[in-house]
Assembly symmetry: C2
Homo-oligomer: 521 residues x 2
Amino acid sequence: MPTWLLLTSLFWSLSDGGKVLVIPLDNSHWLSMRLVVERLHQKGHEIVVVAPDVNMRIEPSLHYTLKTFAVSYTEEYMKEQLQNIGQNIFSQQPFLARMTETIARTRIISTLFLNTCKELLYNKEMIAYLEENQFDVVFMVPVSPCGQIVAERLSLPSVYYSRGFPCGLEATQCPNPPSYVPRFFTGNTDHMDFSQRVKNFLAASLEFLFCYLLYSPFHVLSTEFLQREVTVSELYSQASVWLLRYDFAFEHPRPLMPNMVLIGGINCEKKSPLIEEFEAIVNASGEHGIVVFSLGSMVSEIPMKKAMEIAEALGTIPQTVLWRYTGEVPPNLAKNTKLVKWLPQNDLLAHPKARAFITHGGSHGIYEGICNGVPMVVMPLFGDQMDNAKRVESRGAGVTLNVLEMTSKDLSDALKAVINDKTYKENIMRLSALHLDRPIHPLDLAVHWVEFVMKHKGAPHLRPAAHDLNWIQYHSIDVFAFLLAVLLLVLFISLKCSLFCFRKCFGRKGRLSKKSKSKSQ
Amino acid sequence: MPTWLLLTSLFWSLSDGGKVLVIPLDNSHWLSMRLVVERLHQKGHEIVVVAPDVNMRIEPSLHYTLKTFAVSYTEEYMKEQLQNIGQNIFSQQPFLARMTETIARTRIISTLFLNTCKELLYNKEMIAYLEENQFDVVFMVPVSPCGQIVAERLSLPSVYYSRGFPCGLEATQCPNPPSYVPRFFTGNTDHMDFSQRVKNFLAASLEFLFCYLLYSPFHVLSTEFLQREVTVSELYSQASVWLLRYDFAFEHPRPLMPNMVLIGGINCEKKSPLIEEFEAIVNASGEHGIVVFSLGSMVSEIPMKKAMEIAEALGTIPQTVLWRYTGEVPPNLAKNTKLVKWLPQNDLLAHPKARAFITHGGSHGIYEGICNGVPMVVMPLFGDQMDNAKRVESRGAGVTLNVLEMTSKDLSDALKAVINDKTYKENIMRLSALHLDRPIHPLDLAVHWVEFVMKHKGAPHLRPAAHDLNWIQYHSIDVFAFLLAVLLLVLFISLKCSLFCFRKCFGRKGRLSKKSKSKSQ
């Protein structure tokens, strides 16, 4: 063991494992965040996970103590909201109606976050419990600033677990030039022409407004709860470390801050060989292999017409298709297509017989596609999926389809292309090689940084001084104005002096010569 | 072994070790760069180091093939230049005379770099040799762009090994706000008041000018040699990866780019226990322990008056002082002070009896002080040493002295402070703990990234698209101007329309009413 490692471990062994308070988000985030939590538990830390008593995926476990708090909505209400989103995607409405509905739904989700947060913060028993337990760190998902409000109340450092750059990025002080850093929902890559840069610039401005609308209610809540004026931006700026599920094999290169740690692909740890049921299907697929198809857990059902179109397309390829689908079975389902209620996505993609991956483009799925080098057909549905799809496409590692507008032939052609055209496979293998060639596994890295923050009680040495500057100071506008004023003053004085000297030297002569002239006249 | 690591190593084993062309810089850089070179050799790569035949530290080794090229200057000339710099530091000249001499000396060094580069590039035999050998990567120090010109000629990717951010940083496209990122030679920290920000802003502007002056001759040389127009900024922008001897335990937090890898403290690998001669001295030091004192290899001699002042101060402490000094022995040298021609600095600092470190503040020494948690008395001499000293002082881990102005008492007081005042020890131990708590050793990280660039033939996925934008595009000035024009046009048209409507509606009435008034009169 090298001395530096010995020193580090000696330092750490003094405290005999720490206590981690986890405030997760109940969706696919939790699936990969749980990996970090489990590893932290294995390393001897005590973990408490705090979640609403109505949730989809956060279940009790031997790895952590689950503490739930009561919320006023029911499980049915929550499921209904999620289903509505899923159905909304496939509804053929005019653009404006769709937009209005999307905004309304965002507000519902945002209100759900806010209410859940209120029910946590004003749950006296829970807060008393959290205060009694001397935690070392809050490990949280920053989609809602609720975890940070708790961290502030408990005076604890925090580590964020995030898909990418958050709404209200200015909280990180990370430079984010709209000229080459594409904004969400624009479908831009990092190489933009003038009109795309205009679009990106506008999106950046709108993002600011959107974030304000989304988070302003939390400003009121946090100020009230913490009994001091605190903006959401200030809350987020307190993060010791941002663990970002982000990797440049997939994302476009951009500036980062010292407290940003990239752990993209953390979910690709291949855990187990295929379970028997799937092993049999895969082995029976013969030389043609398999295609894995999942639109994620949000989409339980799609309109029958669309399902039939898809089923028809799937029937045109010789591969066996494993389709995760819980809706009504399309009557035209071909023999090569197996409908399943659930599938071990990463294990299937890791199988050498995997030929293609049809995905909605959620970030977890995309990274599983990249890790395992399986070319993709991406049918983005909402959120960051359009942008993920664009990134895959821009790297020649897959084809993007508009799920609403695509025909059966489009899907069939796309599948045949990614399976038979070798360039897709070559490109995804290149991305895979870049992504997997890392000095340390993202899971180890994530665990290291959570432990780092616990040991050192935060990471203030990674906090840029930019947090202490206002907008004018940060951009040196006051300095520039001052120097300009000095320059102008110097110019003015020089001019005045020159003029004065000029008059002294030539003015008198001029007058003299005039005088002499007049005398001579 | 995890699957991803297995995959990576399988991938690599195909090529059975690569070929690395090393273009180093002949000074302390080489001491730590050599560690990476040796490790690369141990990992089975073939290494060729190219250096001028007149040099101080780059010697033949079993780890690499040393290929030298003839230069027109002699060893005596080079030594004389270095000695002149060392002596110049201690010469009591007026400010302007010192500045003029410093600039003149910088020009001499710069011309030396340029001439050395010319002699490499126009050495036909050497270039033919380099072209014949199919290298995989150029591993170089970017103080001179010469290595990159070679890399361009050979169409090879390059990895840079650098102390910190280079002159002409814009080549990396890394944001560098002067409002909180202190510039070299200003002595600023990251927290600046208004006047310091003005100074920093001016320094940033001057830096630009200075870099232009320093590097413009290379523009001519590279354009001539590569037979295409290529600026130095373009050359530097080609770097696949920057390995930076930089660590936020010591440096102020600032933005980074994806191709920047921090390997600060790479030189702190403790290689061996103390050699017998030093072990004896250290053991004899008793409970008071030792003080390590070195002003680096550039300073072989200091004026006797100053040396005597220093010797007097060293005599006032109970510790045994190990002073690396090759000049004339000061007659007042106290019994506790041992003069040595060389000392195993890192091994001594690593000894539990080390109480303080008197250093000129070179980055290697500073990191050794931090790694080993030894509080410092810094006497900066030139270059980045003033800034290093300021960083140590701003973290409460040491005291800075002006070597020209300090009295014997100042040094004595400073030494007693860092040895007896516990806060210095506590602060340096905290920095040490932060610095050493890393998921992977900097040497392994450096080797990983050199191998990465070899395997993947560069790292284009880490290259920001900002390189393809001009200044106006990067700052979105064209977009802003366009949107402003559109806004003004819309306002103008709205105003015209409103005015037109207003006239239509009220103008006629007005005229009518006038008419009617005139009629009624």
